[in-house]
């Protein structure tokens, strides 16, 4: 986390110039990756180390790493429209479209391809952090009770323990009648299924 903290101190120094004409045949793309505080800290998955964040041009043409302050640069880039991707474990970065113009070098043209948001300077921030694992819900009685199974169980307990009470409160005459009826209908009970259960 230390490099990230160091990076955060440097937020004020955001002077990320983007494209400059280099010597030789190409241009230079300069930019920086900034990981704001808050993201990645709440997750239990440790975000990938700052030193392992890769910045990739055009799907693998050039791969570079970040300097401690988050800056990166690509050299000898021909004019044209390029794609910059950031590969960082734990964060989702949108690829960025960067226009390197031959006519007016130094002009910044960058936009996130995911949401077409333009960037005035090439500062790349993650759109969101990525949680790779399901979070285990801590065991709580309420969860069990609220689940369909829990509700079923609750209902059953209700029937098992409250119903007999209701039955007890019934008129003994009426109950007898009901029991007679049941016996006549021959409702199979568990007792009769069990061995020896038929004897009663």
């Amino acid at each position: 986390m230390a490099p990230i903290a160091r990076l955060l101190l440097l937020v004020l120094l955001s002077t990320a110039l983007t494209i400059s004409s280099g010597s030789g045949d190409g241009y230079t793309i300069n930019g920086r990756v900034k990981i704001p505080q808050g993201l990645g800290t709440k997750g239990f998955a440790l975000p990938g180390k700052m030193s392992n964040i890769k910045v990739i041009l055009n799907g693998g043409q050039i791969v570079t790493y970040l300097r401690p302050d988050g800056y990166f640069s690509f050299q000898n880039i021909p004019a044209g429209t390029h794609l910059v991707e950031v590969a960082a474990i734990g964060y989702f970065f949108s690829p960025v479209r960067v226009d390197v113009s031959a006519r007016n070098p130094g002009k910044v043209q960058a936009a996130l391809t995911e949401n077409r948001k333009g960037l005035s300077e090439l500062v790349l921030e993650p759109l969101r952090d990525e949680q790779y694992y399901e979070i285990r819900e801590p065991f709580s009685i309420m969860n069990v009770v609220k689940s369909p199974m829990g509700l079923m169980m609750g209902f059953m307990l209700l029937v098992v323990f409250i119903m007999p009470k209701l039955v007890e409160n019934m008129d003994p005459e009426e109950m007898k009648r009901a029991q007679e009826e049941m016996r006549n209908q021959g409702v199979p009970s568990l007792a009769s299924l069990l061995p020896g259960g038929g004897r009663n």
Partner: protein, 988 residues
Amino acid sequence: MAIRSFFVPFLLFVLCFYSSLCPVLSLYEDQVGLMDWHQQYIGKVKQAVFSTQKTGRRRVIVSTEENVIASLDLRHGEIFWRHLLGSNDVIDGIDIGLGKYVITLSSGGSILRSWNLPDGQLVWESFLQGPKQSKSFLLVPTNLKTEKDNEIVVFSNGRLHAVSCIDGEVLWKKDFEAESFEVQQVIKPPGSDLIYVVGFAASSQFEMYQINARNGELLKHESATLSSGFLREVSLVSSETIVALDSTGSILLTISFQNGEISFQQTPISNLYEDSAGPAVIIPSSVPGIFAIKTNAITIFIRVIGEGKLEVVEKTNHETAVSDALPISEGEQAFALIQHAGGEMHLAVKLAHDWDSNLLKESIKMDQQRGLVHKVFINNYIRTDRSHGFRVLIVMEDHSLLLLQQGLIVWSREDGLASIIDVTTSELPLERDGVSVAKVEHNLFEWLEGHMLKLKGTLMLASPEDVAAIQSMRLKSSEKSKMTRDHNGFRKLLVVLTRAGKLFALHTGDGRIVWSHLLRSLHKSEACQSPIGLNLYQWQVPHHHAMDENPSVLVVSRCGPSSDAPGVLSFVDTYTGKELSSLSLAHAATQVIPLPYTDSTEQRLHLLIDSDKHAHLYPKTSEALNIFKREFSNIYWYSVEGHNGIIKGHALKCKCTGKVADEFCFDTRELWSVVFPSESEKIIATVTRKLNEVVHTQAKVIADQDVMYKYISKNVLFVATVAPKGSGEIGSVTPEESWLVAYLIDTVTGRILHRVTHHGAQGPVHAVFSENWVVYHYFNLRAHRYEMSVIEIYDQSRADNKDVWKLVLGKHNLTSPISLFSRPEVITKSQSYFFTHSVKAIAVTSTAKGITSKQLLIGTIGDQVLALDKRFLDPRRSVNPTQAEKEEGIIPLTDSLPIIPQSYVTHALRVEGLRGIVTVPAKLESTTLVFAHGVDLFFTQLAPSRTYDSLTEDFNYALLLITIVALVAAIFVTWRLSERKELQEKWR
């Protein structure tokens, strides 16, 4: 009464409840490592630098041929940190500067980077340019004491730079623009302020520049001409003397440039060594006073004494490797020499000026499967009695890395696994009586105890120690690493072929190496100078008839880089790792076609096509020939000629005529060819269905009770072509001048079944073909985003077989023979979506019966593998699906494909340098095995539709058992109670 009758549903209910406690949506963090394993490698080491400061951990910094820079623990060989550079950013040199920075020079000497030694953080990066291509050299001062002496000297691209070690600033630079000047060495004698740049110009001129190291000022430029010319390699024998060979390779030239004066000394090799015949080569080394040449497989060590006089100190016909010199004390330098003799390896550490005595002499027994030593790096340490101890890092032929100390192998790394060429799988042996099996059966008490712990875990009652115990218990589970076949088919052997020509068998349970075998046929030999392993095929998979046979794999390789070099076949037993036999072929093997026929011992018939378009049948048995002749007219194949844009279809014609004629050779005929116009289309990808893919049903029932029939043919080829202009990198072409055309071609008739053009699209194209659909990934230049498209192909000729009565009465055409010569009535449906990331590889899950729904496995640019349901790539998706379509599982259309972090099968891991993804069906229908390889290896099991046919790993049997026991007890208790109550009521 009432109470009793409730118990049956209650019991059922409790059962359901506990079995559903753990839904398998994706992975929980504590499940990491249960079904997956991840191994990190670095590749074959090119250069190693030791960092053994008094303080801090001892480590060795290495650069490898896989383009990795890594810091390894010198004690155990583990990776502290590791960086994989881009594929065209090849590392030229590494060193340690100021004791705390790792300096790397890469990209042909144009990028200089400095990394923090402890944690691998990039410190600075400098781009060095120059007037022309040249060799590059990196010189870092070894003197650590003086803080002011922190200049790195880099020669690259014809320019000499002095760079500050602190911030990467270029202090001065000096160009060497002379047209033909080719630099051979850049030398900075220790303790002096001079830099020598020496090299050859115009093949016969030796040039020497003396430069002031403080400011880059040219002090002296001398040149001398030698009529006989030079060979390119030179060996540095002192800071002011180099040794070279003349252009015939028979005369040694000692060139000294002391004080800026060049002097030559010529010594014919025959003077030193009478039997020399044929040209010699210099083995590059930098041991002061000694150099080595090699002629006719004999290595000769020669000492330089005084004024260019040479003396042979040793000649040997054993394979040898020499390290660079290591300064051990004032004026003394040591080096290591390794010689192979039989099965042993002799290590000697000598002082540079004293050949005859050894500081150290050890013999080490070395595994034959590691081959020869390729590189040696030496490092010393001070023992407690103040004498010097040495440790030696060696790189073997199979790319493994070993540390030797005191005659023992301290650690070894199988870094050959970082460069896998091909993968296949093999079953494990059946469990039989007598076959010893790792201990599995522990007693009931232990079993229950384990499950009690698990129960505590599920109820979140476990203490941290318990949690640790549970975790270790799950990971250790010997069940998954047994050496026998299992009922579910999860345990298999992954047989991998590496670039070093070594076969490894990895156990799918825990990734350990079961056996490894350095193929003899891939050894360098007289007949075969540079053998290259190509492919692996399953040669023999016994299951019905030949149960007693061991399965074997076929390794196809060839001698030399060109595709018409003769082929070599090797057959390897997958149970034992023994090479059963090997065949050096007289013909090339440009194409290998496994045929769907096997002989009585279940050997698969293979057809090898050579460069003259002859087909050769293997195995060469009369039985195979008989089987083959029966199917003679049914064999078709295609070939893709990418360079001239032609796809051709072939069939067999007759027996071979001419010189190569034997019974198993056949002439072929060309059936059809598709020629793509070279000015507008260039083939960049071809994909076909996997040969062993199983499709469960041809019919697909869609929402309105309608049926669609998939067009399932193994002979459909997907071809993607792009405009020649658009075959470069992104950014090199405008949308108007780039397009991508996707074709579906029938490979028997050559008929184009479908063709679609994507305007403004560009490669690279990654595609996967399965059942009746193909998914491909490409770049959309207009939107400047990656896109994925799906094409599904349906058979219309069967579309009217919908009436049940027709089927019952047999008035359908389902059993009518399919002929590829009739024009197929097919319709295609396609759709495109945006996809965020660049892609390195795409695969699809495959299951035993093909019933389980499919997932695409996408290897992203971040080296992760994302599982994406095929349902997201369904051409029938629409913005507002009808109720019926929703019920069928059609997802409303969105413009981009979702990336759900939980569906990364590699979870929080990276498969660094990802190159390929292989899926293998398990026996259990719901499950598929996934193996991703690159520099790292990753293996996991996937259940695309969840494990509907088995209980999960987490299922708690103890809980179930206890619940049942408790319930049975409760039943009996309540039964007693109720009986008593009834009795009381009767008495009343």
